[in-house]
């Protein structure tokens, strides 16, 4: 490891633009986060009720250089200190991914630095290996966000095995769609979480579907919510909004927690890392702490999309030397 003064590590600069957050981070090669900058576009997409790919791509391009510079400044690092550039290659919105990938390739090429293309999901899975109290394999990762919901087994942080995943909507999508039906804002997770605190989670019975062995399905849930709201009528649905939100949230959290418990049991694992934006949900955080295993629930900025986790994964991967990555393309879909 090249760290001349003994305390100063050379760093990884990572970029992440797979969805609607423009992210850059500086992380040392032993996993200390020196900066983790996230420029969220959340509100921009609010009025469309979801991420608009072309709008997201345009904003990534507007923000990427400022976010990168900010990450370097906050880390107190110059270009000369960068040892490796890491970047999300996919999965995600292709136009959005290409902004970060193009920028990362060009930054690396000028200094002939090595580049590590990172699988976005791998970043989420190993986010718990960053920071002062990193999780050690073997562990189970539950990743739930607006874009993904899956369980993965990690024996070596260089890789992961998906044990189960959603067959339709992601858990975060279920929150967003539910919030929209309830007339709450976007993103829906925090809105439902807040409202649910004043409601009775057993007031309504929403389905918890459990397809396959360890898979998830959330699409039936929003349909059930739609029917419930229709049956109640506008007035009653309005007065019982907190009960509905609490029951809806309970159904999502229980579906996630039950599968997680089954996976821990089946795999004989005793450590759990949670990640993805839904990992910020207060009821989910409480519920997984009741599973009888040690839980790593990273701070929110490492749960939602961020570049520190991309640098985190890059630490365990073999970089591509200059010029081998110059022709690298983004991959919108997961190839694993």
């Amino acid at each position: 490891m090249a760290n001349g003064a003994g305390t100063r590590h050379r760093v990884i600069l990572a970029l992440e633009t797979s969805c609607d957050d423009t992210c850059a981070a500086v992380v040392t090669n032993v996993g200390r986060i020196r900066s983790n900058v996230i420029a969220s576009q959340g509100l921009l997409h609010a009025r469309y009720g979801g991420v608009v790919p072309e709008i997201a791509s345009r904003h990534h391009l507007e923000l990427i250089d400022a976010v990168t510079r900010d990450a370097l400044e906050r880390a107190g690092a110059g270009f000369d200190e960068i040892e490796t550039v890491a970047v999300t290659r996919g999965p995600g919105l292709i136009g959005a991914l290409l902004v970060g990938l193009s920028s990362a390739k060009a930054l690396a090429a000028v200094r002939r630095l090595p580049l590590v293309p990172v699988d976005h999901l791998h970043g989420h899975v190993v986010a718990g290996t960053l920071g002062p109290e990193p999780i050690d394999p073997p562990y189970l990762a539950l990743i739930a966000s607006g874009g993904h919901t899956f369980l993965a087994r990690v024996d070596d942080p260089a890789a992961y095995t998906v044990l189960g995943q959603t067959l339709d909507d992601a858990a975060g999508e279920a929150f967003d769609k539910g919030a929209r039906l309830l007339g709450l804002g976007y993103p829906g997770g925090p809105a439902i979480d807040r409202l649910a605190r004043d409601g009775d989670p057993n007031a309504f019975d929403f389905p918890r579907s459990a397809p396959g062995e360890l898979d998830f399905s959330f699409s039936g849930l929003k349909t059930a919510l739609l029917y419930t709201l229709r049956d109640l009528g506008d007035h009653e649905a309005g007065t019982r909004q907190a009960d509905i939100a609490a029951s809806y949230q309970r159904a999502i959290v229980e579906a996630l927690t039950r599968r997680t418990a089954e996976a821990l049991e089946r795999e004989g694992l005793e450590r759990l890392a949670i990640g993805g934006g839904v990992a910020a949900n207060s009821e989910l955080r409480t519920a997984v702490r009741g599973l009888g295993v040690r839980v790593w629930a990273p701070p929110l900025e490492l749960c939602t999309d961020n570049a520190a986790m991309i640098a985190g994964a890059a630490r365990f991967l073999e970089p591509l030397a200059y010029p081998d990555y110059l022709g690298l393309d983004a991959a919108a879909r997961h190839s694993a």
Partner: protein, 225 residues
Amino acid sequence: MSLLGLDTSTAAAAACVLRDDGEVFEVAPDAAALTRPPAHAGQLMPAVADVMRRAGLDWSELEAIAVGVGPGSFTGLRIGIATARALAVASGLRLRPVSSLAALARGIEETDPGSVVLPLIDAKRGEVFAAAYDGGEKLWAPFAARPEKVAERVRGADFTPLAAGDGSIRFRGVLETAGIRVAPDNSGAHVVRALDVCRLAAAAPGEPPEAVLPEYLRAPDAKPQ
């Protein structure tokens, strides 16, 4: 001093070094590249590295980087501009934005000096990005329209332009029916050349890299994913 130029406004990826001694090192795609699926991410940086290597230049020996900012393919433009901006940031250079239609026009003029030229870049959804130039002077500011509209506008003008660009290949029928001359399909005039981006940039003032953005000319489709 030497310039590096690039353009990704069409399906092709173009790069060029115009060295301070006037020597040109170029990756100039042929017209066939305009109708192939775009592969900017795969082609642009290898082309940039290639022209830099052939020119024997280090990044510190460039005066500035020039980039075609469209209008054109949104994704292509973002790849080109994100690349150019990061190259400039990492090497401490300024960026010179150039209109891709102006660069295309310059190439068309070279094949037919003296005539008014109509650079047309395919804008998808049945439209083209268009402009008109006469001897390097802009007669019409860039706009997006259906080819019939462009033909109508030409009819109302007092010139018979020569059109080229991937938009003119796609809508050759409509354009020729309206009396507009269109360069043969295999003509190099259809390609936005990075050499022309460099030439136009030679006199242009530099800008801080992050100030440079695409000239979209069209609002985004507001459909959520």
